[in-house]
């Protein structure tokens, strides 16, 4: 049979069957419609209720999945920092946060039993959170970067000569955001244009490893009353009151900073 005839034949039969197929589909739809229409209102309401329950359960499951995803991201972030060889990293959950005008601290759920020692730096990823000030058997207290008792030296981004500035916490205003102060900034230092200058640890003093991010300079710098140096405020690199896990970098060998901390747990 020639090909054209074969195609015509196929088309003709298809078109012949088409109305029947339409009818079949439409009658099935109609049957479904009448089947649903014949159901009582109570039945429909019950079905709606069941559906709502299933939806709610799925929503809870979705939220749980979302939580797991966020936790996964957080844990990946915390382990991203390559811990220097002279430190041992101990990951700890935050138990409570406590702050007033005079202190900003968190309590973590790891203590002496886990090898944590006073003076150990506390980080999240490569962001500095604070320093361990008191260690108990199963908990430790951490002074945050913004706490008045916190002090460390720092390098400023954009300062090619790597001159040392000083970071220390300031007493917070109630209902205000806690910040730290960066002082001893050289007069000729100019922050990079168009972005907040980052502030890094120097690694001097033996407490914090070098090049950890302390935070960002808040706005510009201003001259002090004496006029020899400039100062600025430091915004911590993380929201310190929303942390759920932190890493404590416990030095494998006792360092000078740790020795200074002994017997000086509450400043």
């Amino acid at each position: 049979m020639p090909a054209a005839l074969r195609r015509l034949n196929r088309e003709a039969f298809a078109e012949f069957q088409a109305p029947a197929l339409h009818l079949l589909g439409k009658s099935r739809d109609m049957a479904t419609f009448w089947e649903k229409k014949s159901r009582s209102t109570e039945e429909m309401a019950a079905a709606g209720r069941d559906l709502a329950r299933i939806n709610a359960a799925l929503e809870i499951k979705l939220n749980a999945m979302d939580d797991v995803r966020r936790e996964n991201i957080r844990l990946r972030e915390i382990t991203r920092y390559a811990v220097p060889a002279e430190y041992m990293s101990v990951v700890a959950r935050v138990a409570t946060r406590d702050s007033s005008s005079w202190w900003q601290r968190i309590v973590i759920r790891k203590g002496r039993n886990d090898g944590i020692r006073p003076g150990a730096p506390v980080v999240f990823g490569n962001n500095v959170v604070g320093r361990v000030t008191a260690v108990h058997l199963t908990t430790s207290e951490v002074d945050l970067v913004t706490s008045p008792g916190f002090r460390c030296t720092a390098y400023l981004e954009g300062d090619d000569q790597n001159r040392i500035a000083l970071v220390n916490g300031v007493a917070a205003n109630s209902l205000g955001t806690a910040k730290a102060r960066v002082s001893v900034i050289p007069h000729d230092y100019t922050p990079p244009a168009g972005q907040s200058a980052r502030v890094f640890t120097t690694g001097m003093g033996g407490v914090f490893p070098s090049r950890l991010l302390l935070g960002y300079l808040d706005g510009g710098t201003y001259s002090t009353q004496v006029g020899n140096f400039k100062e600025s405020l430091l915004v911590p690199s993380r929201d310190l009151y929303n942390l759920q896990e932190v890493s404590v970098l416990v030095p494998l060998h006792q360092n000078p900073g740790e020795a200074l901390m002994q017997g000086d747990q509450f400043q």
């Binding site: 409570t96 946060r97 406590d98 702050s99 007033s100 005008s101 005079w102 202190w103 900003q104 309590v107 000030t133 207290e141 008045p148 008792g149 220390n168 916490g169 300031v170 007493a171 917070a172 205003n173 109630s174 209902l175 205000g176 955001t177 806690a178 009151y241 509450f266 400043q267």
Partner: protein
């Protein structure tokens, strides 16, 4: 035996409230506010416990607060002990609910003032606006004292009833 240790059992009964206050402080941590309830927790025990028991109770509460805060040792505990000695010597002031509420506010605010001054004394730097923060903290302490007194007193009274502590005399 039980009566002798009543103050300790009462501390255990009060501890959930202290823990709750710590959790509330946790929530308000970004605002640098501490929810202070230790003073309000003294009122019901001051009415019923013997003085030495009430003193031990107050000291225990004070040291519990100080244990986790960088305040000079004993500042809060001594303030609470002084308050409880005064209250147990003047039980007629706590005869009715308004009197207890008034006492809760005053004691909580005064004890809060003590820890604030103690913390200021021990702090390495000066506060930015110390008077403003102090007033805010004292207002919070007063408000918390009013809100928390009745539920805490109910818990403590229930515990003291179970421990067999004699009720408050009608005419102290």
């Amino acid at each position: 035996m039980t009566m002798g240790w009543a103050w300790l059992f009462l501390v255990l009964a009060t501890y959930p409230w202290l823990l709750g206050a710590d959790l509330a402080s946790d929530v308000f941590a970004s605002s640098s506010l501490t929810i202070f309830v230790s003073g309000a927790c003294l009122i019901a025990p001051s009415r019923r416990l013997r003085r030495w028991q009430a003193v031990l109770f107050a000291a225990f509460l004070g040291f519990l607060f100080e244990a986790r805060r960088p305040v000079p040792d004993g500042s809060v505990a001594l303030a609470l002990v002084a308050a409880v000695i005064f209250l147990s010597s003047n039980r007629q002031l706590l005869r009715n609910t308004p009197g207890m509420l008034r006492a809760a506010v005053i004691v909580n605010v005064l004890a809060c003032l003590c820890w604030y001054l103690g913390a200021a004394f021990a702090a390495p730097v000066a506060a930015n606006v110390p008077s403003g923060q102090l007033i805010l903290q004292l207002l919070v302490a007063a408000l918390v004292g009013v809100i928390i007194l009745l539920p805490v007193a109910l818990t403590q009274n229930a515990a003291m009833d179970r421990l067999g502590v004699p009720p408050t005399p009608e005419t102290p």
